[in-house]
Structures are given as C-alpha cells and as structure tokens.
C-alpha cells in the first residue's frame, strides 16, 4: 500500500570511465534493495553516468531508507518541480 515516488539517488563522482559499468552499478545497487534486476530496471527512470554518478528511480519510503544506509550513497533527494522564472 506504500506509494512510490521518484527519488534521486546521488552517488557522487563517477567511479568508472566506462558509462556502461556505471549503469550496471546503479542497477545492482537498486536491485539489492528491490529484490531483482528486472524490477530494478522497471523502477529506474534515469542513470546519471557521465558528469557524476547516481540514478532516479521510483521508490517507496522503506526502499529510500534502505538505500540511504548503503555505502556509496551520498544523498537521496525527492524529485521536485522547478518553475520558469
């Protein structure tokens, strides 16, 4: 019954020069919390893999809590709306 929202999981500087390895790392990290790579792929919105490392995914609060305790996770921030000025 827990609703899920998009969250940005920020992992800091990229650890690999190969973006595909960075993406794999993101899926593995998310899978470790949601249970499977398939589900991780389903929940993944974006992988941030060039300028920095992180991903946006649809997460429940309990999953946010679990992820935030994993090593390498700098910060998890909820997706928010920005306005035109």
């Amino acid at each position: 019954t827990e609703s899920s929202n998009v969250h940005i999981v920020y992992l800091g500087e990229t650890q690999h020069d190969n973006p595909e390895l960075v993406v794999d790392l993101h899926h593995e990290l998310l899978a470790s919390v949601v249970g499977s790579k398939e589900l991780a792929s389903e929940l993944m919105v974006y992988s941030y893999k060039h300028g920095f490392s992180g991903f946006a995914a649809k997460l429940r609060e309990s999953q946010v809590q679990q992820l935030s305790e994993l090593p390498g996770v700098v910060r998890i921030i909820p997706n928010s709306l920005h306005k035109l000025e």
Binding site: N5, V6, I8, Y10, L11, G12, E13, T14, Q15, V45, Y46, Y48, K49, H50, G51, F52, G54, A56, K58, G72, V74, R75, I77, N79, S80, L81, H82, K83, L84, E85
Partner: protein, 652 residues
C-alpha cells in the same frame, strides 16, 4: 534585446567594446535547460557561422514536429528532450496536447532565453511598433544546445530528475556554459538537497560555467534561489528604456502611466471608479471579479482600479480599458489592441480618483504607448527580482550580479497569442540570466583558461552600482518603498561586460575551495570522498564559510572580532601594485593586512586578511560597505555586508 545590449555597452557599432575581441562568442557552446526551441525563428539563422566546434559530442534528437536534418544547423547544434522524470512522477497518460514531444518549444520561454544568450542578428524587429531595433544575443556567434526539461504542462514546470539528466548529458557533450532560467519555490532547498546545485557542482569542477536565475519572489528578503557558491546567480534590473503612456483627463491634465498599449488612442471616454455591488471579503479589488462589478455602470467606459484587476472580468462587464493603480511590480502585460491596461502608481491613481470625484462627467483619453530610451532613464533593480540574504547559507552573498530582465523583446514561440511575428516582450530573472550567459560566452573566448570562479569574480567586482556611465548616483531598487539598492538586491551590481573582461584581479576558486565549503556546511569525510571521487578528508579545524574565496564578504552574525581570508590572483599587467580602499559598514571596523599587494612575474596570487569587529552593542540589521583594490587603472570592488548579533536570537 533591441536595447539591452546597447545599455550594457555592447553595441555592435562601437569598436571599443569586447564584441570584436571576443569574436562574438564564436566557438563557445551554450547549453540551455528550458522549454525547448522554435528552430524556424530568424534568431537562430546560421548566417556567417563556421563549422561546429570539433570537440562537440552532442546531437539533435528528432521528435514531434522536429526533424534533426531540417531544424538543426550551425547555430542550434544540440537539441534533446527529457520528460521521463515528469511522467514517472505524475503518471501516464499525461495530457501532452499542449506541448510537443520533441525539442520544439510550445511555451516560448526557451526560445526567448536562447535568443537572448546567443541569437543571431535580426534587424527591424519591434513589438507592434514598440521597442524597435535589432534583436540579438549577447554572443551572436556562439552555438546553442537546447536541453528541453521544462514542459508546457501545468504552465511550465520542470522535474529535478529531468534537469539532472540534462546536466549529466550536457557535461558529456561538451558545453562551455549552462544557462538555467529556472528556480525553486521558497523555502528553498539547502545545497545538499538541491538537484541543480548537485549537478552544477560537477559541471563547474569540469570548468563549465553555470548561470542561474535568482527568482521572481522579490522584493521580499531571503527569497533568492540557486544559492550554491559555484553558480552565478542573476538578479533582474530595468534598463534605460521606458514605455510611457499618456492618460489625458477631461480637464486637460495629462498624467503618465506605463503600458504596452499599441492600439489607437481611445478618444475621450467616460472614466469610472467602480463601486462594488456587494461585500466580498475574498476579493482584494472590486475589479477582480465580474460579480463585484456593476455592469451597467462600467460598460463602455474606462475604469480605474486599485491594487489588482481581472481583464477577463472587466472585458465581460463591457469595459473598454483599465487604469490600474498598484505597487510597482515592473511586470507589464501586453495590452490587446482594443483593451488598454495602463499601470500607474498610487500617487497618480489618487490624482485620477480625485479628478473623478471632482466632476460629474469624468472623461479620459488613453494614448498609444511610446518608446523612450536614453540616459534620462536610470536603471533600477526590478521589484520582482528575488532578494538576499541567502536563506540556505547566509554567508554566501546571493544574487551575484544583476542584468536587464524587464520588458525584454526576444524571440518567442509564434503559438503564443501575444507574440508579434514570433517576438514578444517578457520580464523576469529568466530574461536577465541569459544576458549573463551571453556575456560569459564572450569572456570565455577572451580568457579560455579562466575558471568559472574567476569569470564570476570578474563579473561581480566590476559591476556597476551607479547609474549610466559618468553618473555617480547610486542605483535604486524598486519595491515598497523604492530604496537605494544594496548587495542583497543586485550582488556586485549591474553587470558591465567591458570592464569584466579586464578585472585586474580575480578571486579564484577551485576544487579545494569547494571541498572546504562542503566541509563547512557539514559533509563528512565519507560523503565528501564520494562526491570528489577520491579519499578526501576535511581538515581537523572545521573550515569557515566566511573564508570561501568569494568576491564578496557577508557576515551574518558578527559578535566578536573575526579574521577572515581572501586570495586574489593578478590577471592584469604582471608588475602591478594594488592598494586597498575600505568603505566600512556603519559601526563596523574593517582592517585589511597587507593593505598593499605587489605582484610580479613570480608573485601571481596573494592572500590577505580582513579583520572585522563591531562597535554596536545591540543586534542590528545588515549594514553595507565595500572593500576595493585599485592600481589606479583597475577597480576591484567587493561588497561588505555585516549584521551584528550580540544577543543570541534572530530578529530577521
């Protein structure tokens, strides 16, 4: 932009400005995160542009009504769109009928921003005859990469997940400048929870300059957004142009309002100050709702309204025009040709009301708006421009600089009814931001090795705090009441590109300075190492935010004596001697050691100490001063903002 670049000293007719030396931004790529782009606009023609910069890794993406081979050229060299974050959060199917699922801009905002930063020259453009001239960008030879992250859904919003993806891609593709005319709502996120701050940190550490809008929540204090110390935050000012509109009363007295009324004059028409037909405690003005208005009374007449009005209600009630007496807002909406809306201040409004009450048949004639430009009109900080102090990190002065952002004529989506031939007049810090982005592109050509912090320092320390050149009168900030502007209104002042190109000294910053800042705001060693990408520890003594090498000094809570440090790097003549000139804030002692800086071929950077103490015995508000280094030719000014806090409570 038909006036703004002339106002900023970048007229193409003047050989002495930096346009020729900067090759008008040739070779620089400006990434714009916005609502997309209208590629057919003449502002994006590729006439005279050489090949796409060789290092560019970006591309255009086709989509709805956007064909890469047709719509991208040597001006628009990148165009992508990001909507997955918005869709994932707000569910599918989202009503996308109001926008194009492509880089094409239905809203118009992104087209305007792009044309202001890097639009090509387009001659003889006006808004229905107003503000006529040449529309162009600050860096007309720079290239544009549009990253569409804002959508014409909910009237123009952008999700942080999409923004962050665009920043990630833009870093990879090789932009030099990122321009974000987007903001947060107040209360703003702290830097650690701010997606724009996070993404821009990684951009800036790769020498990409990030320029952001300060926000439109002014004139109230503590409303400034995009407050990270590594971005350039831009406030909005007016320029030396006005749009006066004559209001001629039946007694032949003519008063002046402001409008964008382009229709023929109304002829003498009955003038009414409407009375409400019922008590409505939810309405701020009689003119707000149709139910408040006496249709019989107002139909066919011009009405005088105070505070606010609803054009829809007035039109439905049969009014033929409105004079709105209000606090200054600097926001003028274009009038339809058949429905003039003229803004006046309360003083003029009261005079008109007095006239109405003095005669049995008051009449008024509303004339077509005129365009007036020149030195008689002084620039001021716009009322809507968000103000400091910075509510997230008060010791970091924000905004950094101001630039024109009021009544800017720029390219727009022709889908908007108020666009005249694809050009419209708009106001906001959105419009001031790309002015700075364009200038940054020019500086990047002239000084390719300067860091983002050095470029920011050059802009801030050389900005104008006085009126037009030759004037020693300080700039005002619009608000209630209008007041002398201070650093919380405009940072260093109104940007001065010709001086910024030759600042003499710069307050430079690099990765180490940003690490010290992150330590100061509380990141621990583990998080810091992740952010930086290598094992990094904060020093045992926690760094002070006051020591961040900004081109300004802001002390939000001075009680005891404080010593802070700054370093300046000589970017002028190798052998230079600078002396300090201090204008201390009221009741604050400021001493600088050393007070003379001697640069030569082996001494390029010098650190100095600023000792600050207060003579106040009570909590005060902010007092302002300045610290200036000068070698007789260059004048390098930093704003000083100091608040004494003796008692341990905050009183705003």
């Amino acid at each position: 932009t038909t006036r703004s670049w002339n106002f900023l000293g970048l007229s193409p007719h003047s050989p002495s400005n930096i346009l020729p030396k900067s090759k008008m931004g040739d070779g620089v790529i400006i990434g714009v995160l916005d609502t997309g782009i209208w590629p057919e606009s003449e502002s994006f023609n590729e006439k005279g542009l050489g090949p796409v910069p060789f290092h560019w890794k970006g591309a255009c993406e086709s989509g709805e009504n956007f064909n890469t081979t047709i719509h991208c050229n040597k001006k628009i060299i990148g165009a992508r769109w990001f909507i997955k974050g918005l869709l994932a959060e707000y569910g599918e199917p989202l009503d996308t009928s109001t926008d194009f699922l492509s880089p094409r801009d239905a809203n118009g905002h992104g087209t305007a921003i792009s044309s202001i930063a890097a639009g090509s020259f387009v001659y003889n453009i006006s808004y229905k005859g107003l503000g006529g001239g040449t529309v162009r960008g600050g860096a007309p030879n720079a290239r544009l990469a549009m990253y569409k992250v804002c959508w014409n859904l909910f009237n123009g919003y952008c999700s942080s997940a999409d923004i962050l993806k665009a920043v990630d891609v833009a870093i990879h593709e090789g932009v030099h400048v990122l321009s974000l005319s987007l903001g947060d709502s107040v209360p703003i996120s702290t830097i650690v929870d701010d997606a724009i701050a996070i993404g821009s940190y990684h951009a800036v550490t790769r020498d990409i300059i990030v320029v952001c809008s300060a926000g439109n929540d002014g004139p109230f204090a503590q409303t400034v957004t995009n407050t990270a110390p590594w971005v350039i935050t831009v406030a909005a000012s007016t320029m030396d142009r006005a749009f006066p509109t004559s209001i001629t009363l039946g007694n032949n007295i003519t008063l002046q309002g402001q409008s964008l009324f382009t229709g023929p004059h109304t002829g003498f028409t009955r003038l009414i100050y409407p009375k409400s037909t019922k008590i409505d405690s939810t309405s701020t003005s009689i003119c707000d709702s149709l139910s408040s208005l006496n249709k019989t009374m107002v139909s066919g007449n011009v009405v005088l309204c105070f505070t606010s009005y609803s054009e829809e209600a007035l039109r439905e009630a049969g009014c033929v025009g409105v004079i709105i007496a209000t606090n200054p807002s600097d926001l003028m909406l274009p009038s339809d040709d058949d429905f003039p809306n003229i803004q006046v201040d309360y003083e003029v409004g009261t005079r008109i009301l007095s006239y109405i009450r003095s005669t049995s048949a008051p009449l008024v004639k509303l004339s077509r708006t005129k365009t007036v430009v020149g030195k008689l009109i002084s620039a001021k900080v716009a009322a809507f421009s968000s103000r400091g102090p910075n509510s997230a990190t008060p010791a970091i002065l924000k905004p950094d600089v101001a630039a024109p952002g009021v009544n800017i004529l720029a390219a727009y989506s022709p889908l908007r009814s108020y666009a005249d031939g694809g050009y419209a007049v708009k106001s906001g810090t959105s419009l001031s931001t790309p002015h700075v982005s364009g200038i940054v592109a020019l500086l990047k050509v002239m000084h390719p090795s300067w860091s983002p912090a050095a470029i920011r320092s050059a802009l801030v320390t050389t900005a104008s705090r006085n009126g037009p050149s030759c004037s020693i009168l300080p700039i005002f900030a619009e608000g209630s009441p209008r007041k002398l502007a201070n650093p919380f209104d405009y940072g260093g002042g109104i940007v001065n590109p010709n001086k910024a190109a030759y600042p003499g000294l710069v307050y430079d910053m690099g990765r180490e300075d940003y690490i010290n800042f992150l330590c100061a705001v509380g990141y621990n060693t583990s998080a810091l190492s992740q952010i930086v990408g290598q094992v990094t520890a904060c020093s045992s003594t926690k760094p002070s935010v006051l020591d961040v090498n900004l081109p300004s000094i802001t002390i939000p809570n001075l009680r005891d004596n404080i010593n802070l440090t700054r370093s300046v790097t000589n970017v002028g003549p190798v052998d230079s001697v600078y002396k300090v000139d201090i204008d201390p804030p009221l009741g604050v002692n400021v001493a600088v050691r050393p007070d003379t800086l001697v640069f030569n071929s082996s001494v390029k950077t010098i650190t100095f100490t600023v000792a600050v103490s207060t003579t106040h015995h009570v909590n005060t508000g902010y007092y302002f001063g300045s610290l200036t280094w000068t070698d007789g030719k260059h004048v390098v000014t930093s704003a000083l903002s100091v608040r004494t806090q003796i008692a341990d409570y905050t009183d705003g």
